[in-house]
C-alpha cells in the first residue's frame, strides 16, 4: 500500500516537470523579443537591454530554466510586469473569491447531480431519465456565460432577488457573501451537474444489474436503501473519478464566470494578464491551476485505494 502511494506520488513528478517546461518555454517561444514586448512600444534599446539583463534573457536557455525552476522551488513566482507586484502576493489577494466560488459550485453540483443520476438510472427509460439525459446534453452545449447572463436577467434584473454582479468577502458578512455567490455558483455548476449526473446514471445503471442488488431486493430491502446504500456505494469509483476530472472544466468555467459576474478572483486575473501580455503572471496562474488539478486527482486516486478494499495495486 505504502509502495503504491509512493509510486503514484513519484509518477506525478515527471508530469508536473513537463508542465513546468512547457510553461517555461511559453515565454521563450513568443514571436519576437519578450523583453521588447514587456518594455512596450516606446522603449529605447537601452531599456530593452536592461530588461533582458534583469530577466536573464541574455543567458543560455538551460541556465534560464535552472534559475526559473530554482526560484519556483523556493516559492518565488516572480514579479508581474503589469501589476508591478510579486506574483505570490497577487495570487494570495485573489484566491478567496475563486476558492469560494469553486467550493460553492462543487457543493451544489454534487448535491443536485448525484440524486438526479441515481433517479435517472432507477427510472431507466422513463421520461425522468430522458429529461435528465436531455438536460445533461444541453448543459454541455450552452456556454457558461450564456447561462450566466440568462440567470442574471431572470433572477437579478427581472426578479431582483440577487445582486447583478460583484463579490463580497466572507469577512464582510456571511449574508452578503452568500447572496452574491449564489448566481455565479449556480451558473458554473450547470456543466458540472451535467457531467456528474451522466456518469452517476451510467455507473449506477451498471451496478443495478448485479446479483447483490437482486439479493437485496429478494431480502425485501427498501428500494431507497438499495439505491443509496448498495448501488451508489458500489458505483462510487467512476463518479468520484469524474468529479476529479471535472475540475478541469471547473477551472475553465471559473475564468469565464468571474468575468461575467465581475468577481476579482484568479480567473479574472488570468484574463487581465493575457490582455496585458503579462507572461510571468500567466505562467504562474497556469502552473498553480495545473498543480491543483493534478494534486486533487492524485488525492482521489489515493483515496480509492484506501477506502475501496477491492482496489489493490
Amino acid at each position: 500500500m505504502l509502495g503504491y502511494i509512493l509510486r503514484r506520488l513519484l509518477a506525478t513528478i515527471p508530469v508536473l516537470l513537463i508542465v513546468a517546461v512547457l510553461v517555461f518555454l511559453m515565454l521563450r517561444l513568443t514571436p519576437g523579443d519578450p523583453a521588447a514586448v514587456i518594455a512596450g512600444d516606446n522603449a529605447t534599446s537601452e531599456q530593452i537591454a536592461l530588461i533582458r539583463n534583469r530577466l536573464g534573457l541574455d543567458k543560455p536557455i538551460l541556465t534560464q530554466f535552472a534559475i526559473w525552476a530554482g526560484n519556483l522551488a523556493q516559492g518565488n513566482l516572480g514579479e508581474s510586469f503589469f501589476f508591478k507586484k510579486p506574483i505570490g502576493e497577487l495570487i494570495a489577494g485573489r484566491i478567496e473569491p475563486t476558492l469560494s466560488l469553486a467550493f460553492a459550485t462543487m457543493l451544489i453540483a454534487i448535491c443536485v447531480a448525484i440524486p438526479l443520476g441515481v433517479l435517472a438510472a432507477y427510472k431507466h427509460g422513463s421520461w425522468i431519465d430522458r429529461i435528465v439525459m436531455g438536460f445533461s446534453v444541453l448543459g454541455f452545449s450552452v456556454p457558461v456565460f450564456v447561462i450566466g447572463y440568462a440567470l442574471i436577467y431572470i433572477f437579478a434584473i427581472t426578479l431582483g432577488w440577487f445582486p447583478v454582479q460583484g463579490y463580497q468577502p466572507l469577512s464582510g458578512g456571511f449574508g452578503g457573501f452568500v447572496q452574491r455567490l449564489v448566481l455565479p455558483a449556480v451558473t458554473l455548476s450547470v456543466i458540472y451537474i451535467a457531467l456528474i449526473a451522466r456518469m452517476t446514471r451510467a455507473s449506477v445503471l451498471e451496478v443495478l444489474n448485479e446479483d447483490y442488488i437482486r439479493t437485496a431486493r429478494a431480502k425485501g430491502q427498501v428500494e431507497r436503501k438499495i439505491l443509496f446504500r448498495h448501488a451508489l456505494k458500489n458505483a462510487a469509483v467512476p463518479i468520484v473519478t469524474v468529479v476529479g476530472i471535472g475540475i478541469a472544466l471547473l477551472i475553465g468555467g471559473v475564468v469565464v464566470t468571474e468575468s461575467v459576474y465581475s468577481i476579482p478572483g484568479l480567473g479574472r486575473l488570468t484574463v487581465d494578464a493575457v490582455l496585458a501580455r503579462d507572461y510571468p503572471t500567466i505562467q504562474a496562474v497556469i502552473l498553480l491551476f495545473s498543480g491543483v488539478y493534478v494534486g486533487i486527482n492524485l488525492l482521489i486516486d489515493l483515496a480509492y485505494s484506501l477506502f475501496d478494499p477491492r482496489i489493490r495495486y
Binding site: V19, P31, F289
Partner: protein
Amino acid sequence: MNAEPSILAPVAVEPAAPSRTVLMRLVRNPVVAIGSVVLMLLTLIGLFAPWLGTIDPTAINPSTRNKVPGFERTIRADDGTTTTFKHRMGTDSLGRDVYSRVVYGARVSLLIAVSVASISIAIGLVIGLVAGYVRPLDGIIMRFMDGLMAIPGILLAIAVVSLFRSGLTAVIIAIIVPEIPRVVRVVRSIVLSVREEPYVEAAIMAGTRLPKLMVRHILPNTVAPLIVQGTFIAASAILVEAILSFLGIGIPPEIPTWGNIMAEGRNLFRVFPHNILYPGIFLGLTVLAVNMLGDGLRDTLDPKMAGR
C-alpha cells in the same frame, strides 16, 4: 503484386468498414437525424449569408446605435427613392445589424469546428500511430501528452492564444493544442490492441510492408472512434472559440462571430439583452446539434456505449 499466400486469407479477418447496415441505423436514429438537419440548416445559413436579407455585418452606423429588435431604418438612395431595412435582431452599440452579424457568425463557428476537428485528428493520428507502433518513442510521447493534459483545456488555449497576435489562425491553433493529446491517447490504445490481433500478425508474417500494414490493417480500426471523437472536438471547438472571443482574447472584434457579438453586448446587457440572447441561442443550438450527432454516432458505431 499480392504477396500474401492465399492460405492465410481466412485468418485475416478485416475490420468491417462502415457498411450499409451501419448507415441505415444512423439514418433511423432520431438523435442523429435531428442533429444533422440542424447542422445542414446552419451550413446553408453560413453559405448563403449574403442572400438572407443581411447587410454588411461590419458596417458601422452611428445613427442606428442600440436599437431594439424590429427597428426599421429608412435608407435613402441617391435618386431619392427610399427603402426601409428592418433590424430583426436590433443593432449593437456601433449601429451594426445584429441579425447580419449572427448569420455571418455561423461561418466562423462552422469553419472553426471543421478545421479544429480535422487538423487535431490528423496530427493526433500521426503521433498516436508512432506512439503505438514505435515502442522506444512511446514513453517520451505519452509523458509529454500527460503534461499537456495536466493543464486544463481552456487555460492551455488561453496561454497559446497569448503567444500570438490575435486572429483566426491563432485561435484555431490555440484550440487544437489541448485536443491533440486526447486523440493521441485513443489512437495509441487502438494501435496497441490491434497489433496483437491474429490478422495483423498474419499480415506481418506474410511480409506486408509497414506503410501498407498501417493503411490496410491498422488505420481502419481507428475510423469509427475518431469520427465520434471528431464530432465532440467540433462541439468543444465552437464553445472554446466563443469563450475566447467573449473574453476579448479571441478573434478580432470587428469579425462577426457569436462570441464577439456577445462580448460587444456585455456592457449594455441590462438594457439591451438581445445582443447576448440571439447569438446565445444560435451558439447553444449549434453545439447541441453537434453533440447530439456525436452521441448518436457513438451509440451506433460503438454499441457497447449505447444509452450512456
